[in-house]
Amino acid sequence: MDRAAGASPGVWGAAWKRLRADRVGMTALAVVLAFVVLVVAAGLGGVAADWRAEVGVPDAPPTLLGPRAPTADPLVAGPAGPAADLRDIDPLAPRYAEWDAAAQRLRATEAPRAQTLPLGADRQGRDVLAKAIQGARVSITVGVLAALAATLLGTLLGALAGFYGGRLGDGLEWLYNVFTAIPNILLIFTFAAVLSRADALLPKGVWSIVVILALTSWTGIYRLVRAEFLKHAVRDYVRAAEAIGASASARIFRHILPNVSHVVLVQLSIHVVAAIKSEVILSYLGLGVAVDQVSWGTMLAEAQGELILGHWWQLAAATAFMAVFVTAFSLFTDALRDALDPKLRGLE
């Protein structure tokens, strides 16, 4: 087991080495990183900043399909022949000439609208690709922030409950039971309803969703972290730390937490995926981001109406973006778990 003298890779170094050997994991990581770059670029205004511009004809199809054929025969036939002359009976007839002159002076400059766009356009003619990129920014930001907040909350409470036990542990268990006893979607609605009244406290939109999701999804992490702390608190290395006089907080955060960090990290990445999906559902139900923002969820909500008309591209774009990101993130999570699992470390 002894390696040649010199610095040896720590636990993290070894995990990174194992992760690098995992081809699927590295591909997934590359995809995730590409999304992160995209999100950052969109956030800084470099990419898809003008997603609100109506650059295409309404419901322009994707470029691959080619422009839509002009509608040959509308259902209601237009009137044939010259328009009827109403001069004799129209009281406003004397002003026709004046209006024509005014109309000559005005020029409505209408930008040429594209017949097709790379991924098509929505009903207002906005570029679906730009919308999907902006939607990625909102959805991924919400997902990551909500997962981070939920992990922080769950880890802290779980660590306290598992380490101290006793009254504190009982109290936290009680809180956990209350939260898990209520059906999840109902709980989310409740928080959404309460928070929507608290506009002064919290701007509506991204932040309120982050808070809602964090408050409703910490329970799973709490349970796992508590179990890990229960297990580790009586381990010899923690007892040894107590014997040398390490304080309770040092034992919790310096000794045990790094040893259960693989659980926390994997939970974090699982919750990122879950939060993105929840955000999509919330936005779809109208409880999500504000109307002037776009997320994958609002795109899906719009797509519902378009689909009836046969305009499937907005749905496809949002679904594809989400599927690629969520799949890549999940695969990366799997690889991360394998790389961090101390059971695979040979000696434990």
Binding site: M1, G10, V11, D236, R239, A241, A243, I244, G245, A246
Partner: protein, 591 residues
């Protein structure tokens, strides 16, 4: 190869030139392998060869990593999927390496049965003993349910379980460790195997229970006329049960022969060293010889040098009037046990233990598992969860009662009483480098000046326990058990303690490593005047280190006297039983 069997036919089991390696995965396009059994010597692969004759007991002895378990598990191919076996294993004339998985499965349990080290993890906790016993009977022998139950009852009676009929309905957790191992043996015997492979079957058990199981195995071997392949790290156990002994080290056979020859006239230097480095009940040298020392001495002798001086000097007498550093009066510790939904009751784990510990002295604490010795050790340091249950009595350290000190005032005392735990794999934080592990205690107590000073001191202590300074940057998983235990000892020494509680500190180590660590502990005591509370189930080890011995049973101290006195003239029945159960190895003639 030595042949002592009179039969000229093929023996029951013949292992010839067996080599086992484990595939570790590809690196740079080349399959990497770890050789577990067999070694390349002078460019030639040498495997393991030995016979197990019918009705005989062959013992495989070696330290951890010697390949003894891998060799035994190769017989039935109970190895992980990445194992590759070469050579021949012939059982009753059939080559087991060439058998199809289905044929091998038919042999398992029926002709060759196994008993493993840990009965608690070998029995399925959700099935009753009866269900688990009946399964092989119905599968291999085709018995009906009723017949199988009757046979299972008879088997339990045979392995000496009282009330076998009631036990059939019991779940594994309702039985003690020794009873579980008896059930495992009954399961192994169920189909009347020709060969029984017992892999460290008594290692997880107390000495008294170990003795019963050894006697049971010997009787059953006689009665069923089985061959027995017995794997153990303990030469004392092997000497009592084996007819033939095979000594293994690093995947090769060092020596094999009849038990009398191995114990009375060992030919191999390693065997001799292995025999010499065990602490014994009947002799107490000042230092234990270690395998490295002995083998180096033999090599020097073979090269024509003068034999090194390994003669044991008499231990320096200890000052009987040394100041008392720790006095314990009527120490008791109880735990709350849940009962029903809301009820709870107290379980008394330690009751009324009293002793005095003088500077530079060692108090040995012996007892079987569950006797409360570890609980007492942890109570001395106040390492129990305060919600767990009440602690009574007094622990006087320097005139202060540790049990009455408020938590905040405990820190200065923590520096002066330290503890070393049993399992060196669990007592070091795996995410801390050795440097962090060693400097943390000094930083907490503000010792050693600045960081540089602490590092210098940590390096000096590492040198003191026999490790290089460059291990500071490494992590615990890179070290062997013995090295980790040295690091744990060094961590305690950083605080310059006065009392060290050693909770089974050498029990998890191989004999050779155990001898090194015991010598280290003795040297440190002489040098620094440390007082030890040495908790162990191993009487021989306690005898080597202790001045006074405390014998505990069911939480109470049953006997307390000087080490010599307890060994020579034990007053209590229980102590006598404990001493009688210690394996003594091979005893000529009388044994």
């Amino acid at each position: 190869m030595s042949r002592t069997e009179t039969t000229m036919d093929e023996p029951l089991l013949r292992i010839a030139d067996l080599r086992v390696s484990f595939r570790l995965g590809r690196e740079g396009g080349q399959m990497q392998r770890a050789q577990a059994v067999g070694r390349v010597v002078d460019g030639r692969a040498v495997g393991v060869s030995f016979d197990v004759p019918a009705h005989r007991t062959v013992a495989l002895v070696g330290e951890s990593g010697s390949g003894k378990s891998v060799t035994a598990m190769s017989v039935l191919n109970l190895l992980p999927d990445n194992a590759e076996r070469e050579g021949t294993i012939r059982f009753q004339g059939r080559d087991l390496l060439a058998l199809a998985p289905r044929e091998l499965r038919a042999l398992r349990g029926k002709d060759i049965a196994c008993v493993f080290q840990d009965p608690m993890s070998s029995l399925n906790p959700v099935f009753t003993i009866g269900a688990q016993l009946c399964e092989p009977l119905r599968r291999h022998l085709g018995l009906t349910r009723r017949q199988a139950l009757a046979r299972a009852e008879a088997l339990l009676a045979e392995v000496g379980l009282p009330e076998p009929k009631r036990r059939l309905r019991a779940y594994p957790h309702q039985l003690s460790g020794g009873q579980q191992q008896r059930v495992m043996i009954a399961m192994a015997l169920a189909c009347e195997p020709r060969l029984l492979i017992a892999d460290e079957p008594t290692t997880a058990l107390d000495v008294t229970v170990q003795r019963q199981i050894l006697e049971l195995l010997a009787t059953l071997k006689q009665r069923h006329r089985m061959g027995l392949l017995f794997i153990s790290h303990d030469l004392g156990v092997v000497g009592e049960i084996a007819d033939q002994v095979v000594v293994m080290r690093q995947g090769t056979v060092r020596e094999q022969g009849p038990v009398a020859q191995i114990f009375s006239a060992p030919r191999d230097a390693y065997t001799r060293a292995l025999l010499a480095c065990r602490p014994r009940l009947d002799a107490c040298p000042a230092r234990l010889p270690t395998i490295d020392d002995l083998m180096a001495a033999e090599a020097a002798q073979a090269a024509g040098g003068a034999p090194a001086d390994t003669a044991a000097a008499t231990p320096p007498p200890k000052d009987p009037d040394a100041p008392v550093v720790l006095e314990v009066r009527e120490l008791s510790k109880a735990f709350w046990l849940r009962r029903g939904v809301f009820g709870r009751r107290l379980f008394q784990a330690v009751r009324g233990a009293s002793f005095q510990l003088r500077r530079g002295h060692t108090l040995g604490v012996v007892g079987e598992s569950g006797s409360g010795k570890t609980t007492m050790g942890l109570a001395l340091l106040r390492l129990h969860d305060p919600h767990g249950g009440p602690t009574g009595g007094q622990v006087l350290f320097d005139g202060q009662d540790l049990l009455q000190l408020p938590r905040g005032a405990l820190l200065p005392v923590r520096r002066r009483i330290q503890v070393v735990f049993q399992n060196p794999y669990a007592s070091l934080n795996p995410r801390f480098s050795i440097g962090q592990t060693l400097t943390e205690p000094m930083a907490i107590h503000g010792l050693g000046g600045d960081d540089a000073g602490r590092r210098a001191r940590a390096e000096a202590l590492l040198a003191r326990v026999g490790l290089d300074a460059d291990v500071m940057r490494r992590y615990p998983h890179e070290f062997s058990g013995g090295q980790r235990q040295r690091i744990a000892i060094a961590r305690c020494l950083t605080l310059q303690p006065e009392v060290l509680v050693l909770d089974e500190a050498v029990s998890a180590l191989d004999v050779s490593v155990q001898a090194q660590v015991l010598n280290l502990l003795k040297d440190l005591q002489d040098e620094l005047g440390l007082a030890y509370v040495f908790i162990s189930h191993d009487l021989a080890v306690v005898r080597f280190l202790s001045d006074e011995v405390l014998v505990m049973k069911d939480g109470a101290v049953v006997e307390q006297a000087g080490a010599e006195q307890i060994l020579r003239a034990p007053q209590q029945d229980y102590t006598r039983r404990l001493l009688g159960a210690v394996p003594r190895g091979w005893v000529p003639a009388a044994g």
